[in-house]
């Protein structure tokens, strides 16, 4: 199996599994209880909190554990919007955010907030001047992702955040896709809120975190017990949180070296595709891009067909063609960077991870040209294009 869909999810690191497993069995206690197995679990959660905080340069008490990255995004947007609605009801997001942000913003619009969607250039970059112009006296939050999950483009978050702060507006960034791939320091970036997810960094599914800068006014989404200092009620997912902590610790130790190795593999894949297959377009920023991601449009054919043909040969990637969704439109990210719908439909995302090898890349380069030419032979546009030449 060649797994090139690490932006979708990653397999758990064995060391993470080993760290988690005692908390599923003998150390199963509820952290809120007084006796020893409860205290043990509580200590483990606090240790994990410290490790996740270290991954982003935060203080442990600024980390709230959640159920997933989407919950973190929901909490950031709704929690800040609800806590500041007396001051204003305007929110700004980029047009290429993950649906966890976009659909939360759309929900807030439905209940009376106003949302401005910032455009991006052809590489997927938000212009800080656009943000400056969009901020109003009633703006309460700006949310712009650190790195895009589909095309890998890295936003100038430090700059965007300072534009936001000049006008006294809180800034959230969705760092779910950036974490473990880029060095993140909340002090350097200046952000007030930052979303994370464990399963993108070789941790378990079902656990995320939201960094909330000390002093930031925010409402909880889940009311109940006093867990997470009253900011997120519900018995902690102890094993998941421990796994997240271990995954964060490993990421911090290994990220720098891994990023270089993975970028080399990614470049080898991308160059190899450009050499072997004609009429392809690389999407995303040429330099300011996640080291593991390449998003490529194969003109004249459709992405889902490419993905299924690759899968039948044991190669797993994903597509921005949404022929399977109700809208029939390709991904909002590819549309926002200005691709035509036909080209957008032919896009495939390859996202590498720490378990990929040069052999995986070479195998993909062996199979892919055959898959593409096979589908192109079926396409009316391919033949017409060749006739026109």
């Amino acid at each position: 199996m060649v797994y090139l869909d690490n932006n979708a999810t990653t397999p758990i690191d064995r060391r993470v599994y080993e760290a988690m497993s005692p908390y599923l069995f003998e150390k199963f206690g509820n952290p809120s209880t007084l006796y020893s197995i409860g205290a043990e679990a509580r200590a483990a959660v606090e240790e994990a909190r410290k490790r996740v905080a270290d991954l982003v340069g935060a203080r442990p008490d600024e980390i709230v554990f959640t159920g997933c990255g989407s919950e973190s995004d929901n909490m950031a947007l709704k929690g800040v919007a609800f806590a500041h609605m007396e001051r204003g009801k305007h929110i700004i997001v980029s047009s290429i955010e993950h649906h966890a942000v976009l659909n939360t913003a759309a929900y807030l619009e439905k209940i009376g907030f106003e949302v401005t969607y910032l455009p991006v250039d052809r590489y997927g970059m938000v212009d800080p001047d656009d943000l400056r112009r969009a901020i109003r006296s009633d703006t309460v939050l700006v949310s712009i992702m650190l790195a895009n999950n589909e095309i890998g483009t890295i936003q100038p978050v430090k700059e965007l955040c300072s534009v936001s702060h000049e006008k006294g507006v809180l800034f959230h960034t969705d760092a779910v896709q950036a974490a473990g791939k880029l060095k993140i320091d909340v002090e350097e970036l200046g952000v007030d809120l930052l979303s994370l997810s464990a399963h993108k960094i070789y941790g378990p599914k079902g656990v995320g975190a939201l960094y909330i800068r000390k002093g930031t006014k925010i409402h909880p989404l889940i009311h109940g017990g006093h867990q997470e200092r009253g900011r997120r009620a519900g018995t902690e997912n102890v094993a998941g949180i421990v796994g997240f902590g271990k995954a964060a610790e490993i990421a911090l130790q290994e990220m720098e070296e891994e990023a270089v190795r993975i970028a080399e593999l990614r470049d080898r894949l991308e160059m190899g595709i450009l050499e072997r297959i004609e009429d392809v377009i690389v999407n995303g920023h040429p330099e300011r891009r996640l080291p593991n991601t390449t998003n490529i449009s194969f003109c004249y054919i459709e992405g889902e067909a490419i993905i299924l043909k690759l899968a039948s040969r044991g190669i797993y990637a994903s597509t921005g063609s949404a022929c399977s969704s109700d809208t029939l439109e390709p991904s909002h990210v590819l549309m926002a960077i200005g691709l035509s719908p036909e080209v957008g439909h032919g896009s495939v995302r390859f996202s590498l991870g720490k378990f990929n090898t040069a052999d995986d890349v070479d195998r993909t380069l062996e199979v892919l040209p055959e898959v593409v030419s096979n589908l192109r032979e079926m396409s009316p546009f391919w033949r017409r294009k060749n006739v026109q030449r």
Partner: protein, 129 residues
């Protein structure tokens, strides 16, 4: 998500390509939506003797094209016009709800090809007369 039949037709599509001297061509779909289907037919004595397709689209679109060409080969024009998208989907062992439009495209493709054939024949008769 797909039936074995869909996957089988997608992996090994029948009747791919163009018919150079086709008697009718149906071009349906919209690249914006991610599906375009061109159906070519060859007609002899009111019967479809050959049928081929070219398709830009997902697995369901390719499988729908493939199974449709199989279904209409050997049929009379009247019989072919009766093929519905439901019949196409059934022949594929069913399609997911969000992919039913692919079978509809196939139905429209056959109809468009037959209309084109009728139009050409009428023109031919007018010329002959």
């Amino acid at each position: 998500m797909y039936s074995d039949k869909v996957i089988e037709h997608f992996m090994h599509p029948r009747n791919v390509g163009k018919i150079e001297d086709a008697d009718g061509v149906g071009k349906v779909g919209n690249p914006v939506c991610g599906d375009v289907m061109w159906i070519y037919i060859k007609v002899k004595d009111g019967k479809i003797v050959d049928c081929r397709f070219e398709t830009f689209g997902c697995a369901a679109a390719i499988a729908s094209s493939s199974v449709t060409t199989e279904m209409i080969k050997g049929k009379t024009i009247e019989e072919a016009l009766k093929i519905t998208n439901k019949a196409v989907a059934e022949a594929l062992g069913g399609l997911p709800p969000q992919k039913m439009h692919c079978s509809l495209l196939a139905e429209q493709g056959i109809k468009a090809a037959i209309e084109d054939y009728m139009r050409r024949r009428k023109k031919g008769e007018e010329k002959g007369a």
